[in-house]
Subunit: 340 residues, 2 copies
Amino acid sequence: MNSGARPTVRMEEVARHAGVSPATVSRVLNDRGKCSAKTRERVLAAIRDLGYVANAAARSLAQGRTGSLGFLLPTIGTEFMSSFLQVVASAATEEGYDLLIALRSESSLRRMLGRHNTDGVLIFGSAMGEASLRRLAAEGFPALLVYRTPPPGLSLPSIAIDNEAGVRESVEHLIQAHGRRRVAFLQGPAGNEDAGRREEAYRATLARHGLPVDPRLCRSGLSAEEARASTMAWLREQAPFDAVVGWCDAAAIGAMDALRSEGRSVPADVSVVGFDDIGPARHLDPALTTVRPPTELVARLAVRELVRLIQSGQRGAGEPQPRLGLAVELVLRRSCGCSR
Amino acid sequence: MNSGARPTVRMEEVARHAGVSPATVSRVLNDRGKCSAKTRERVLAAIRDLGYVANAAARSLAQGRTGSLGFLLPTIGTEFMSSFLQVVASAATEEGYDLLIALRSESSLRRMLGRHNTDGVLIFGSAMGEASLRRLAAEGFPALLVYRTPPPGLSLPSIAIDNEAGVRESVEHLIQAHGRRRVAFLQGPAGNEDAGRREEAYRATLARHGLPVDPRLCRSGLSAEEARASTMAWLREQAPFDAVVGWCDAAAIGAMDALRSEGRSVPADVSVVGFDDIGPARHLDPALTTVRPPTELVARLAVRELVRLIQSGQRGAGEPQPRLGLAVELVLRRSCGCSR
DNA sequence: TTGTATGCGTTATCAC
DNA sequence: GTGATAACGCATACAA
């Protein structure tokens, strides 16, 4: 906390320096109660002179709040997550909160709720198991799910996107605009809700259009590398397919990689579409057709809503929890067969 | 902090439940002092039963440490930063610290040092101005610069990479292996030290090989978009160039984009190289030749060193500060003209 | 408008 | 080994 040469300067010292009491310094610092402009000036000057900074722990202890939000996420190292995190971080700052991040892990979680005591947590996707979610909900700790809906029976606020609509639109586009009939799918992680819903929507859309759902045409797209391997396997086994839907852009990119290296043309031979619209998507050759979720909106809404939860005090278990499914947008580029 | 229905369970309640004193509970919790296995068991049981979690603020106040590290960064939303942050986050967890992140901003900084009181801060690149750095150094607060060396006269520990060697190697490769003579450069942000050193190295290497440094061939590569525009400008003005060196991969990607859209072949007409080796680099067509910094090593070293600083107590202003310049690696792919 | 006194929940220093 | 008790630094009734 203070490992400098000079000892920590406390509020008391500021008070002496300004010729007032500690309470007055505290008031000036927090804009509480009225005080004359003159003393206010003196106090501020003393603070500047001494380089005083309030001790966060003491403040938290006295106020009963920490002024920080926790963000629990499964992993940071993806294009998608980094842009999301960027928005969350600035939104938190705007709302006057610090942001504490923790990678998926039970111990991190306990530390957020316990050791470091955040005022509330944002839980991204599969960053937290169902059992922990239940405990959390039972404790009534302010928490909000992002890119995930609460498990059945659990009443937790959540902000998710409309995965179904996104995949439905993209698959229908492949079928109707480009005449594709044998659509393959690159699957996401098993526990991932977004991934699951997207796969469901893929199957449902094919079925709705009277197309067969070939089990061979569903393979792992956990990473670009796995997607690449899966696509190679399709080619090797001569599975008949004329389109690939990636559960996310990285998977789609892996597929394009494999197709190119095997001399297949995208989109002439095979259409490829993704999901997420990560930064590189538009710079690929051909540029990737994909589904764009309102990332920035989600992040801002999430932070704002969490802050509202915190500031509204106790969460009434009775009142309905907000559960938003935000609209997504199909971005047509060249990898599906469109001319732009 | 606690907005649940039931009131916060404090250490005192745990003590009552276990039939011991609060002091004993504290000891069990922190593994301090000896206590019989039997009481220890009882206390742990009580903690479990009541779902007790320690109040972080009170603990910090009593101990004089927060158990969290601050990470000050200019922006999160880049491939490079996201992978770096990922490692920093897990390293911090391994060392037993929480990670508090803040985007570049003076107010964020003050909050890290003051309002939230981290035990030490990691400062990435240009995230903090020189004036603030001086103040920080003067206060003796544990801080470590990453991807940046301290300004002259300032004694702050830092961990940086060998930008010069990286660019020297890549430019020499263009010259010697591929016979390039007119090498253009896409510049980074003005305040960015890495960017500056890379540009210097670019000029120095050309000079060392008796090649002219054409001022027209240095343009902005702040983002992929700007790099694209700069490359378009070179083409439009018919500036003679047969190679482009991007200060970072994103810039190189923008250049490749522009070249492709204008019908130029990479690498047949123009060689392109980048810096950073971000994830997508290997998936481009052609795959991007680039310089790979030891990102993971830097992140781990940084966290470890900062923790050492913190735990070693006061930073002796006299002892020499570590100032590492870590080795980088030239990764040859196809965009420079190599066959793989 | 300003000062005084008390409490926030934990750790640490003593005694026992 | 274990239990009282005093800090830790700040916010806030309450009194002035």
